[in-house]
Every structure is written in structure tokens, then in C-alpha cells.
């Protein structure tokens, strides 16, 4: 895009073109939604950075209570991680279907993605319930507070992603693949893949490093 601008400027200078007061041609995105949404994601990234920093600082403050090493179940986390990973490629399939202008296929793959996300959320809630049940609630120690804040915030994001996804399914059903809906599907794809990126940090930093002696 900047190339186009460059040539336009050069042309204006070199040849004695008539004076222009308006920029001709369309060098800018027609709307800034994608950039704006990206900046939102970056600000979200900062929230997670703070939560990761908190977890890093309080990572060994067990206050005599249970530790992550004793209670984390890596098998459960492995299943959860694979659910989220598979959901990112099913979202990719939805994007490909949208590109091919197939509204049914888009909705189908979006629904599959949503179900995988719901499965992830279900397992996470089961894990939280289990942890609280065995006496490792958010009030137990600084470590568990930081753990629930970080992992819970990620889970909340997934929850709102699913709410958005269901809303989008209704909008797609009603209006089809209009420009607005394409934009929404793409923004949700960025949101969804961004959550996957955060989860990479969570399973590495919290769970895998948490069970190491």
C-alpha cells in the first residue's frame, strides 16, 4: 500500500500533473476495524502480561498450603490443550469456507470450533471445581490467587469468545456472508487464535513449569 502512495507522489512531482487537493485512489483500508481490533488484542496482551508477572512473582508463595506440583493433572491439561489446538484449525476451515463463499460450511466449522471451545471450558471448570474441593481455592495462598486470576481470565475470554461465536452464527444465518459478517468472522478468528497464543504461555509457564521439582 505504501508503494502505491510512493508512486503517486513521485508522479505528481515529476510530471506537471494538474494540481490535486484530494488524494485520489484508495490507499487506506476502507475502515480501521481490523487495525483497531488488533490494537484491542495488544491491550489485552498487556493485561495477560500483568497477570503472568503476578503469577511469576507469587509463583512459589504457597503459605504452607498445597502446591501446584501436588495438584496439577498434566493429562487433563494435555487434553485441554489439544482441544484448543484443534479448535484453531477448525476455525481455519471456517475461514476457508468463508473465502469460498459457502455460508453453510462457514457456520458448520464455526459451530465445531464453538463446541471444542465449550469442551475446553467444561474441562477447565471441572479442574477448578476439583482444586477448590481439595482445598486449593483462590483464597488459600498467593500462589492459588495468582493461578486462578491468570487461568480464570483466560477462561473468561474463551467464554466470551463462545458468546460472540454463537451471536455470529445467528447473524450469518440471518444475513449470510455480507461484508460486515466477513469482517466479524475475521475479527473473531484473530481473537480465537490470540487466546491460543496466551494458552501456549499458560500451559508452559503455569502447568509444565509448575510440576517441575
Amino acid at each position: 500500500m505504501s508503494d502505491n502512495t510512493m508512486t503517486a507522489v513521485v508522479n505528481d512531482n515529476d510530471q506537471k500533473a494538474p494540481l490535486e487537493f484530494l488524494v485520489k485512489g484508495d490507499h487506506h483500508p476502507q475502515n480501521g476495524t481490523l487495525l483497531g481490533f488488533w490494537i484491542y488484542l495488544m491491550s489485552d496482551c498487556l493485561i495477560f502480561a500483568c497477570l503472568f508477572a503476578t503469577y511469576g512473582v507469587l509463583g512459589r508463595s504457597y503459605a504452607g498450603g498445597p502446591t501446584g506440583m501436588e495438584l496439577f493433572d498434566l493429562n487433563l491439561i494435555a487434553i485441554n490443550t489439544s482441544l484448543l489446538l484443534v479448535s484453531s484449525i477448525t476455525y481455519g476451515f471456517a475461514m476457508l469456507q468463508m473465502q469460498a463463499n459457502r455460508v453453510k460450511g462457514t457456520m458448520l466449522w464455526l459451530a465445531v470450533t464453538g463446541l471444542l471451545g465449550a469442551g475446553f471450558l467444561g474441562l477447565e471448570l471441572y479442574e477448578f471445581h476439583h482444586l477448590i474441593h481439595v482445598g486449593a481455592g483462590p483464597q488459600t495462598s498467593g500462589f492459588w490467587t495468582a493461578f486462578f486470576a491468570l487461568v480464570g481470565t483466560h477462561g473468561l475470554h474463551v467464554f466470551f469468545g463462545i458468546v460472540w461465536l454463537v451471536t455470529l452464527l445467528f447473524q450469518l444465518k440471518k444475513h449470510g456472508l455480507i461484508a460486515e459478517n466477513r469482517r466479524r468472522v475475521f475479527c473473531l478468528s484473530m481473537f480465537w487464535h490470540f487466546l491460543d497464543v496466551v494458552w501456549v504461555g499458560v500451559f508452559t509457564y503455569v502447568y509444565l513449569m509448575g510440576v517441575l521439582p
Binding site: P29, L35, L46, S82, S88, F186, D196, V200
Partner: protein, 118 residues
């Protein structure tokens, strides 16, 4: 130029073109980069925890880049480079937040509350 504007009529947005190859490559890489760290930790492959931590952190960093490139379609010219600029700015802030917090709090623990350290 006219071709450019014409395309806009059809797609009226700047949604990047995606391809099956891109998603498949990203997915395969992501699976490999996820399975290896889990195997390293669950199979107790390395004797020392420090080695394992270094290796799995390196895998996580690579996997984050893979997700960025293949799933989030990051490159240097999307949205005229502003995406990348925002990302770099954010990464600097993330680094300051993480490294600064850990460093400062570690020093506080060591120097001011010796009883807190096991």
C-alpha cells in the same frame, strides 16, 4: 489501480487471503511444538529442572511465533505495517512488565525479607 478498487467492490474489506496450506503447516508445527514439551516434562527426560525449563520456554516462544505467522497472519505489511508496529510496542511493554516485576520482587525478597526465602 482500477483493478485495486474493483477488488474492493467485491470484498469491501482488507481481510487477508488465507490458504489451507498455511493453516495445515501452522497446525502441524503447533502440534509438534506442543507434544515435545509435554513429553519432556511428563516423561522426565532431563535430569535437571533448569534444563527442562530453558528448553520448554524456547519451544513456547517458537510456538507463539508459529501461531502469529500462520494463524494470525502477521507480517510486515498488513495494515500498512501498523499491525507490526503495535505488536513490537506491545512486546517491549510485555518484556518490561515481566522482567521488571520478577527482577524487582526477587531483589525485595532477597534483601528485605530474608525470612521469606526458603
Amino acid at each position: 489501480m482500477s483493478e485495486h478498487t474493483h477488488e474492493h467492490d467485491h470484498h469491501d474489506d482488507d481481510i487477508p487471503h488465507v490458504s489451507l496450506k498455511e493453516y495445515a503447516t501452522g497446525f502441524v508445527l503447533a502440534v509438534i511444538l506442543t507434544v515435545i514439551p509435554f513429553w519432556l516434562v511428563m516423561g522426565n527426560v532431563f535430569e535437571s529442572s533448569a534444563t527442562t525449563v530453558m528448553v520448554i520456554l524456547a519451544f513456547a516462544l517458537v510456538q507463539i511465533v508459529v501461531h502469529m505467522v500462520y494463524f494470525l497472519h502477521m507480517n510486515f505489511h498488513s495494515e500498512g505495517g501498523w499491525n507490526m508496529l503495535a505488536l513490537i510496542f506491545t512486546l517491549i511493554l510485555v518484556f518490561i512488565t515481566l522482567a521488571g516485576s520478577l527482577w524487582v520482587m526477587y531483589n525485595l525478597n532477597v534483601n528485605m525479607m530474608p525470612g521469606m526465602m526458603e
